[in-house]
């Protein structure tokens, strides 16, 4: 990969008619980083992320993900990234095993590879007992872990997590972040959006979007120093208030 950046964004803009949702943002994400993409509701995070994962067309500006241009090669991007949606989108009326097999299949994994991955997941997450249970019957914490693992089935170089810890208790959130750390240690780049500011502390670097622009981009430590804040929550409040 050239110059070690998994994501390169330059003046990326998205307008809906007169309204500018994403206003000329620029940043890079290095390989192996845990990058936190923060911002209040309505700041433009989701719109920006949609462009990076290939389902939104930019109005202007450039962005490259995994060395592919989002405007010209969104299909190639999709093959090389993992995605975990906010709703942990798994099929409730399919079993755990069937969900794994399905998603493995649409990412082009061979039958043998799917079987291998499935055994790995069973060992790692202790899925042995619930392989043949319908996903709908699983508690939220399990769905979350399963959703994350499925996003990584095809060993993508970067995985996009959209508010992955919504509605989940603090202990489960902590366990989930341990899964994220493990993945990052294995070399996967993590791009995560969240509005839990304490989770911002877990990231290598963090960007904060306010009204379509990136108002801050640095490590949590540096941001706290710069804004004389005790924690990321305070940093955010100071920024959002303007």
């Amino acid at each position: 990969m050239k110059n070690n950046n998994v994501i390169e964004v330059e003046n990326l803009t998205k307008k809906f008619g007169d309204f500018t949702a994403v206003n000329s943002i620029s940043f890079e994400v290095k390989k192996g980083e845990i990058f936190g993409f923060l911002g209040a509701n309505g700041a433009g995070k989701t719109t920006a992320m949609k462009m990076l994962i290939g389902i939104g067309k930019p109005t202007s500006g450039k962005a490259q993900v995994a060395d592919f241009d989002v405007l010209t090669h969104p299909e190639e991007i999709k093959k090389n990234i993992g995605y975990m949606s906010q709703k942990f989108a798994l099929y409730d009326d399919l079993t755990v095993k069937e969900n794994i097999t399905f998603f493995g299949g649409i990412y082009g994994l061979s039958r043998a590879k799917i079987k291998e991955k499935r055994s790995e997941l069973v060992a790692e997450l202790g899925l042995g007992d619930i392989l043949n249970e319908l996903v709908g019957s699983l508690p939220l914490g399990w769905k979350q872990k399963l959703s994350f693992s499925i996003a990584l089935l095809h060993d993508p170089i970067i995985v996009f997590l959209d508010e992955p810890t919504g509605g989940v208790d603090p202990i489960t959130r902590r366990q989930f972040w341990e899964m994220i750390y493990k993945s990052s240690n294995n070399g996967t780049t993590i791009f995560v959006t969240t509005h839990y500011m304490d989770e911002a502390e877990y990231c290598d670097r963090v960007s904060i979007m306010v009204d379509g622009k990136i108002e801050a981009l640095d490590t949590p430590k540096n941001l706290k120093k710069k804004y004389e804040a005790e924690n990321m929550n305070e940093v955010f409040l100071k920024l959002a208030r303007g």
Binding site: I55, K57, K78
Partner: protein, 368 residues
């Protein structure tokens, strides 16, 4: 008491601010009364008939004039040879053919009796009955008129024949209609529900981010319903042949081909509905109220289109089911080949392409 009134006030706010409930409360009843009032009719109005006048004399002209003057019938065509009778029925242009024998007036004055032959298309047995009765009544009343000042009465013998459905079995009318409704239900409604379900659950987004191309997602969703619809169609045809003893006069292959065309038309409608529905409930409502109900009322399934007021007749043209029922009746009951139903087939194909193009356009707009 005040708390209670406060609560009722809130309920009124809900109702008036929700466009959907306003539509159901006021729009739907009005639409339905109008629809039901005008569409549901067992009367006949302006029915197209053809005349085969072998005599062309004063008497036949008087009878023909009396018939065309009535609001019940409209003389569409004048036939000049025997073979045309079959053709004009196959083409579906007229509901009945009136045949006057040779030397009508001469026979009447000489032998005091002349013959009229009423041949009616009985693929719709109820209308056929009405048509035959009304024509007979008009001829009967003409006979009374000319018999007023004469001692020996003139007889006008009316011989009636029902073609395509001599026993006037109503199942002949229902089977094409039911088959159409079921194919449309399975294909359009189930497809639209299936696609909107993915949207509602959020899994559609995951599919869109995956390497699967959007058209693969749509086609993949649609294929199981094609299979199921084909099986449904086969079951219905088998049941009608063996349980209801309905004949399939035409080619089974053509029947299968046209059914597949219609299934695809319904599927494309289902896809279109899914692009304008955010939830499964919306999709179901649109399918039932916007598709099923008008289809049942205006497709000619139960109530003859020709008897409806003109605006409704025009609307019936945009309902795909209307064209497919014509095709089904043509193949099953009249045994026609592609030559007679090419127009209807082309219309179905055109509608399909239109729905697909519209769906693609809506989908692209959303991506922007």
């Amino acid at each position: 008491m005040k708390r209670f009134i406060g609560f009722i006030k809130k309920e009124f706010y809900h109702i008036f601010r929700d466009k959907r409930s306003l539509f159901i409360l006021f729009g739907m009843p009005v639409a339905q009364i109008l629809l039901f009032g005008f569409a549901i009719t067992n009367e006949i109005n302006n029915v197209d008939i053809a005349i085969f006048d072998k005599s062309n004399d004063v008497t036949t002209q008087e009878i023909i004039h009396k018939i065309s003057a009535s609001k019940y019938f409209s003389i569409k065509q004048n036939i000049t040879n025997e073979a045309d009778i079959e053709t004009v029925f196959q083409k579906g242009k007229v509901h009945a053919v009136l045949v006057f024998e040779n030397d009508f007036k001469k026979n009447l004055t000489k032998d005091n009796s002349a013959k009229v032959h009423i041949i009616t298309d009985a693929t719709d047995p109820n209308t056929a009955n009405s048509i035959t009765n009304y024509i007979s009544a008009i001829i009967g009343s003409y006979r009374k008129e000319i018999n007023k000042d004469i001692s020996i009465e003139y007889q006008i013998d009316t011989k009636t024949r029902m073609v395509y459905n001599p026993e006037l079995k109503s199942v002949f009318m229902f089977v094409p209609g039911v088959m159409t409704i079921i194919l449309m239900l399975v294909s359009a409604m189930m497809t639209s529900i299936s696609i909107t379900r993915e949207k509602e659950l959020g899994t559609m987004e995951v599919l869109l981010v995956s390497p699967l191309k959007p058209f693969q997602v749509i086609v993949g969703k649609v294929i199981p319903y094609i299979f199921l619809s084909i099986i449904n169609a086969i079951v219905i045809v088998l049941l009608s042949i063996f349980v209801f003893e309905m004949p399939i006069q035409g080619s089974l292959f053509l029947l299968a081909l046209e059914s597949v065309f219609f299934i695809i038309t319904s599927l494309s409608l289902g896809i279109l509905i899914s692009t304008i529905s955010a939830t499964q409930q919306t999709a179901m409502m649109i399918s039932l109220m916007g598709l099923m109900l008008p289809t049942i009322l205006l497709s000619g399934f139960i109530f003859p289109i020709s008897s409806m007021p003109f605006p409704l007749q025009v609307i019936s043209n945009i309902i795909p089911a209307k064209w497919f029922i014509l095709i089904l009746k043509g193949i099953m009951l009249k045994g026609v080949g592609l030559f007679f139903i090419w127009k209807e087939t082309l219309i179905l194909i055109g509608m399909t392409l239109f729905f697909i193009a519209l769906s693609v356009k809506k989908y692209k707009i959303r991506l922007e």
